[in-house]
């Protein structure tokens, strides 16, 4: 069923074609897509040449998949554990076997580079299903927890119901992207309401910025890190690069002077419309009371539609703290159209013991996983 399609590896001359293809996923704006490409694939400190695989029909790029470079560690042992991402096939070229062909080439390259596994932390329901059909494994659910003000709960439930209807969901996503593009401009501020409420609250102990403090964050993480966990490398270079994602806007809450005692990172799509959905992309502290203080600040100030966090590898005390503050399971049931978000992995060697750094990937308690570890945040 080749029908003249060819799967090729990315070369720099294809950058514009990638940006054009990704108007179906990243954003409808090619300039923004070029900036995002540069951040994700060229400025990524853990990446070599961009690992992107395109389906070509003559000179036209009709599909692609990317591999997001990432470096993880257990103890002092570091290793590359990339994630697949950015899966797009133009509508008129679907149902022609391209998804599998692209993935086969991508995974062969990753395996040849010596990576025993590849992850996916940001797959759509369709991608999750197809991946499972192709031998990927859903290691464990990410346990998405959400909290919204009581007056927004009905609206949120209605939105979820609409999104679960695929054709409607596709139309909704298309319309939302177009609205984002129409609404974006100098006056758009996704954190506008949050910023105003935080300023009005006047908490002298919590600093809020729109940029990271890489040195302080790296020092703090080094003090409290669990060396027996599989975790992403979180050093100065990581913190310097990670939050430059041009499609996402961040707010950083810091507690502690002169040395940082804790931080919390909020993330939301930069060009979203309406009252935003905020994500707790990262949260780190040495003491439970610091953690509570940061969470209480965000919850108390408000300015969001829903606040999400991954609950899967949180410390028990943190999870209890979130539940006490009204966070609930955002995905209490799963279905084909709406599977739970999960850490998915594909073993590239056979046989496979599902171990990295000497510990099992299959046990959720062996991981320290945060939303910021996903390429989608």
């Amino acid at each position: 069923m080749s029908l003249g399609y060819e799967i090729v590896r990315f070369t720099p001359e294809m950058t514009e074609r990638v940006a054009a293809l990704q108007t179906h996923l990243w954003s409808p704006n090619i300039s923004r897509n070029l900036a995002y490409f540069k951040w994700k694939y060229e400025q990524n400190p853990y990446a070599g040449p961009p690992q992107i695989y395109l389906a070509m029909l003559g000179e036209e790029a009709v599909g692609m998949r990317g591999v997001f470079a990432a470096r993880w560690q257990v103890g002092d042992q570091e290793f590359d554990l990339p994630s697949t991402c950015d899966f797009v096939i133009l509508p008129e070229h679907r149902d022609r076997g391209l998804a599998k062909r692209i993935m086969d080439v991508a995974l062969a390259d990753v395996a040849a580079a010596g990576c025993p596994f590849v992850l996916n932390l940001s797959g759509s329901p369709l991608t999750q299903l197809i991946s499972l059909g192709m031998g990927w494994r859903s290691l464990w659910p990410l346990d998405l927890l959400g909290r919204c003000p009581p007056e927004r709960q009905l609206t949120t439930r209605l939105k979820s119901a609409v999104k679960s209807l695929r054709p409607v969901a596709d139309a909704y996503r298309w319309m939302r992207r177009r609205m984002r593009d129409a609404w974006s401009g100098p006056g758009e501020r996704p954190f506008a309401r949050f910023d105003d409420l935080a300023a009005a609250a006047r908490d002298d102990d919590i600093r809020i910025t729109s940029s990271p403090e890489p040195d302080g964050m790296a020092r703090l993480v080094a003090q409290g890190v669990r060396h027996d966990r599989i975790r992403h490398v979180r050093d100065r270079a990581y913190f310097t690069w990670r939050f430059l994602n041009p499609l996402v806007e961040y707010r950083f809450l810091y507690l502690g002077r002169p040395e940082l005692e804790g931080y919390l990172v909020l993330a939301t799509p930069r060009h979203s419309t309406g009252v935003p959905v905020l994500k707790v992309a990262d949260l780190w502290s040495l003491r439970p009371e610091t953690e509570a203080r940061l969470l209480d600040a965000v919850i108390g100030w408000g300015g969001f539609d829903v606040l999400y966090v991954w609950g899967a590898t949180l410390a028990e005390r943190t999870r209890a703290l979130l539940v006490a503050r009204g966070f609930r399971e955002a995905e209490p049931t799963a279905s084909i159209a709406a599977p739970r978000r999960a850490l998915m992995a594909k073993a590239l060697a056979d046989p496979c013991d599902w171990r990295v750094g000497g510990i099992s990937m299959l046990d959720m308690t062996h991981w320290d996983l945060r939303m910021i570890d996903s390429d989608g945040v």
Binding site: M1, I89, R94, D95, R96, G97, L98, A99, K100, R101, L126, Q128, L129, I130, L132, G133, M134, G135, S138, P141, R166, T333, A334, S335, I336, A337, P339, R340, A342
Partner: protein, 84 residues
């Protein structure tokens, strides 16, 4: 008892995938490329309807259980037996 095999093959042919005519009981549907992503997703929704309830795809070995017509029919009949 419902003939899931015939209904499944009819459903796949109704998807109008190019190679639906060569499908037999043991054709690997996804691996062979007979079904692409969207067709497989529609098939998954069909299977879920036959089960009569929500199906969490992470709770079973989907690659093996939904690999062929034969394995899908066995899957559905097993679920019917368990839930009856």
């Amino acid at each position: 008892m419902k003939n899931y095999r015939n209904e499944l093959i009819a459903f796949i042919r109704g998807l109008e995938v190019p190679d639906a005519g060569v499908i037999d009981d043991d054709t690997p549907l996804l691996e062979s490329g007979v079904l692409d992503s969207l067709a497989f997703f529609q098939l998954a929704l069909w299977i879920e309807r036959q089960i009569g309830g929500k199906l969490d795809p992470a709770t079973f070995d989907l690659q093996q259980e939904w690999r062929t017509v034969r394995s899908i029919v066995a899957f559905i009949e097993r679920w019917q037996t368990v839930t009856r």
